[in-house]
């Protein structure tokens, strides 16, 4: 395969991943690494480096659009970013140290878990809970525009959320993904942040988290310009188009399909990791 065909193919696959990722809200990064390693036989370390770059691009691009709507809470973002960035540093160092086979297995488990999280029914939001005293001290409680005007919310269990976000950061740094599935655990379930606020705020944080590990990947030679270029441009274009047609598209069936794709790729990564074919 010549570099030209390789670039064109990787760009098209990345475009599709970005499009589906933004349409379903599940993120394209989680399918990119397995697609690059399984379909294109790229070394998993190059794949993770390229995926990390695309995560920064899509997060920064869509955060810009979200901020204007007034859902995101920069205070929650800033506090949790302390956890995610230190976690990402730890994860990136870990990734340079553990064997690629182990990386593939962790990746597979993470994908299977993500597929299940995306299918689970969200429990009804509990409103008007008393805030965690720490949340009040850090002034994390906020409000967002709702149908009946601005709705206030109180943040719960800050310490638990903070520790879980350290784990999310570590996985993001180790696997080059946004790790939205763990964010659901930390922000939606532990901290009881309303869905729209947690989604837009975590999207805001993902770029900063990925940047914390990207420096280490770059200096270790894991980011190859020839591979990262089509991945970044493809994912960015795909997710941009996705956010434009999101309003009109019926995404429920698409979510099911994409969750199945994630599950199948996750099983394949697990299989390859266990048999050492990576």
């Amino acid at each position: 395969m010549t570099i030209f065909t390789f670039t064109a193919l990787v760009a098209s696959v990345s475009f599709l991943a970005g499009l589906l990722g933004s349409l379903t809200g599940l993120g394209g990064g989680v399918v990119l690494v397995p697609l690059l390693t399984i379909l294109f036989h790229v070394d998993i370390r190059y794949a993770i480096g390229a995926s990390l770059v695309s995560v920064i691009a899509t997060s920064s691009g869509s955060a810009a659009a979200y901020i204007k709507e007034g859902f995101s809470n920069i205070r929650i973002g800033m506090v949790l970013e302390i956890a995610t960035t230190t976690g990402a540093l730890a994860g990136a160092y870990l990734a340079t140290w553990i064997p690629t086979v182990a990386l593939a297995i962790i990746f597979g488990v993470m994908m299977i878990y993500s597929a299940f999280v995306s299918r689970r029914v969200r429990p009804p939001e509990q409103r008007n809970l008393p805030p965690d005293p720490l949340a009040t001290r850090l002034r994390l409680n906020g409000s967002f525009p709702d149908l009946e005007g601005r709705r206030r919310y109180n943040v719960q269990r800050v310490r638990t959320g903070f520790s879980l976000m350290f784990g999310a950061g570590a996985l993001s740094g180790m696997l080059g993904i946004g790790s939205g599935a763990l964010k659901v655990l930390a922000m939606d379930q532990a901290m009881q942040i309303p869905f729209k606020v947690s989604t837009t705020t975590s999207n805001f944080m993902i770029g900063v988290t990925a940047a914390a590990s990207a420096g280490i990947y770059l200096s270790r030679g894991y980011i190859d310009p020839g591979l990262a270029m089509p991945v970044m441009l493809g994912v960015l274009a795909g997710s941009f188009l996705g956010s434009r047609i999101l309003v009109k598209a019926e995404t429920r069936k698409l979510r099911v399909v994409f969750a199945v794709v994630i599950l199948v790729l996750g099983l394949q990564m697990l299989y390859k990791g266990i048999w050492g074919h990576i």
Partner: protein, 160 residues
């Protein structure tokens, strides 16, 4: 958000203004500049930083891509074996050196470096925003995040 949100904000334009000033000139003299720095204004500023960073870095990557494909498009691709990048693509001086010689891969790597710096710039602007809000607690939080990011970018051998 700490500032009390004024009830209806039709198009989310201006931040919450405590009491509508009768005329702008007196408002400026009687009111200290601090309250006008709401969280929402910081966020809108950050959105601009992010958008600019993504557009600029994509443009540089695209330029590099054209040069790279024009010169190397016909060569065979090989990513099966991990070799690690040469120092030209691993360190900041190396990347600038390669980019200045209009080498395609060097330009792409410069664009990627710009992209990685975009969230870091965002955090830098947040520090400024919280300083303007006189919010010491959050200035400290933000500086911690900035330190971690700068350590990753500069302390991990990228400068050598």
């Amino acid at each position: 958000m700490t500032t009390p949100a004024s009830a209806p904000e039709p198009n989310g334009s201006a931040g919450p203004t405590p009491a509508a000033p009768v005329n702008a000139a007196t408002a400026r003299t009687t009111r200290p500049p601090a309250p006008s720095w709401s969280d929402h204004r910081i966020e809108v500023m950050l959105a601009k930083v992010l958008r600019f960073g993504v557009i600029a870095s994509s443009a540089v990557v695209l330029c590099g891509a054209v040069i790279y494909l024009a010169f190397h498009g016909a060569q065979p691709a090989n990513y099966r074996v991990f070799q690690g990048e040469p120092s030209d693509f691993r360190t900041i001086p190396g990347i600038f050196h390669a980019a200045l010689h209009a080498r395609g891969r060097g330009l792409i790597q410069l664009g990627l470096l710009l992209l990685i710096s975009t969230p870091i710039t965002r955090v830098l602007f947040s520090v400024a925003g919280f300083l303007l809000e006189h919010d010491r607690l959050y200035v400290i939080c933000t500086v911690i995040v900035l330190a971690v990011l700068l350590y990753s970018l500069l302390g991990s051998g990228l400068l050598l």
